[in-house]
């Protein structure tokens, strides 16, 4: 595994690909490797591209990658597709739209499935992105299907989040429901060659204006998270990022240079306003807590006989024990070695 780390850092694409598999499978070796790679991370600009199925995310990622390549930047792409809840398998088809990028040694595309476990998607994506970061890509594009909490979680990896809508599809009420506007740093109405694009743009702009300026500012600063962040810049106006709404036709590169500029403006904004430092610190803090939570949970469950837990759940199910009291009793075993379930008679 440390050979793999060395080869990866030396630029081996095979080593990178293999490392990504290890990381996805969360092997113990991957953990050691991530430790070695961590000091080499923090250099890439990470761009999340999310939106409803079929809005043109992969086509946009393809167009963006070409634009960044034309600027001489190297590009890593992570394309996340949902795992089938029935079989645990997945069809990962985003590469179909990225054929133009093949044969370019400055691009590396990796497809991954969500694999279902709660919170696992976000962790796996973060680790995969981190490995790509260590591999030295200037830009990392992360495509996720906007379908709920998972892409909001994944967004916590990204520095700039592009939310993609399409004419007709993006009826504004739906967009609010998905909470997806709240995570947008840049909004794109793709398929602008189709009728209704102007209307969708207007609807999105109206919705952005509906948001109270203060709330909008908070979203801008906090990237959709409500945890407080100290922003170094005290000038209210300057610390306000209003997501621009752009039109693109990904399939013929229309509007792509404007999109690249919008992403660049956002990058400059978060850097100059000092938001980036706070944001990164916040992400790392959240990650630390998440990991701690998982580790504590795992360790705790190891000490607890499965039968005792099953017993407890039976009591809860019978309404003889409320869940919080159950937790208190479980926690009490940290001080006294054996679990003592106290449930009501029913």
């Amino acid at each position: 595994m440390s050979d793999l780390v060395t080869s990866l850092l030396a630029g081996s694409r095979r080593a990178l690909a293999r490392m990504l598999t290890q990381v996805e499978n969360a092997t113990p070796e991957a953990q050691q490797a991530l430790e070695k790679l961590f000091p080499h991370t923090g250099n890439a600009w990470i761009i999340g591209v999310t939106g409803a199925p079929g809005t043109g995310k992969s086509s946009l990622v393809n167009a963006l990658a070409k634009a960044y390549r034309a600027q001489g930047k190297t590009v890593g792409i992570v394309a996340v597709d949902p795992t089938s809840p029935f079989s645990g398998g997945a069809i990962l088809g985003d590469r179909i739209r990225m054929v133009e990028l093949s044969g370019d040694a400055g691009v590396f595309i990796r497809s991954m499935a969500t694999r279902g476990s709660l919170g696992g998607v976000a962790r796996a994506t973060r680790d995969v992105v981190r490995v790509m970061d260590a591999a030295g890509f200037d830009i990392i594009l992360v495509e996720t299907v906007g379908a709920g909490q998972s892409e909001v979680d994944i967004v916590r990896t990204a520095h700039t989040t592009v939310v993609v809508e399409a004419p007709g599809l993006g009826d504004d009420v739906q967009a609010i429901k998905a909470g997806i506007l709240e995570i947008a740093d840049v909004l794109v109405v793709n398929k602008a060659d189709r009728p209704g694009a102007n209307q969708t743009v207007r609807a999105l702009r109206a919705m952005l204006e509906l948001g109270h300026p203060a709330a909008r500012e908070q979203f801008a600063r906090h990237h959709g998270r409500l945890i407080e962040i100290e922003v170094q810049n005290n000038h209210q106006d300057e610390s306000l990022w209003i997501p621009p709404v752009l039109q693109t036709t990904a399939t013929n590169n229309t509007g792509i240079s404007e999109l690249v500029l919008a992403i660049e403006s956002h990058r400059q904004f978060v850097i100059e306003s000092g938001t980036i430092t706070a944001l990164q610190k916040q992400y790392l803090e959240l990650e630390l807590y998440e990991r701690l939570q998982q580790a504590l949970m795992q360790r705790f469950l190891q000490t607890m006989p499965k039968t005792a837990l099953a017993d407890m759940i039976n009591h809860i199910e019978a309404r003889q024990l409320d869940p919080q009291r159950a937790v208190n009793q479980l926690l009490a075993t940290l001080d006294q070695p054996s679990l003592n379930i106290q449930a009501n008679e029913s």
Binding site: A17, G89, A90, L92, R95, G103, I109, A113
Partner: protein, 137 residues
Amino acid sequence: MTVRTARVLIAKPGLDGHDRGAKVIARALRDAGMEVIYTGLRQTPEMIAEAALQEDVDVVGLSILSGAHMTLVPRVREAMNKVELNDVPILVGGIIPDEDRDTLLTLGVVGVFGPGTTTDEIRDFIHTLVVKKDTNE
């Protein structure tokens, strides 16, 4: 035996424009719990090798209906070997005459599946390959 998820690349080299068969296989393998990377029509051998490398797949499945398998398959094998994917097995599906089958099996292909093959057979074949790979590692 394996608990990890198998990753399979399904690719269509050459110029024929029918990918229904490839999609049927892709869906069957997904339903068998595998992750299937599907790259679309008209892939060059180099594109297939590159995708196989980046996606770190366990197996590459080629769907060829054009009749050009005897030229395409060796080229894909060669392209894969060139990027050091010698150890990644290739399966071929399509309309393959019996006499070609045996030749293909000497050209770095581990399995040839004709029109009569069930998706279950292909699934089981891949499963066995993956188990073998994991025991060797």
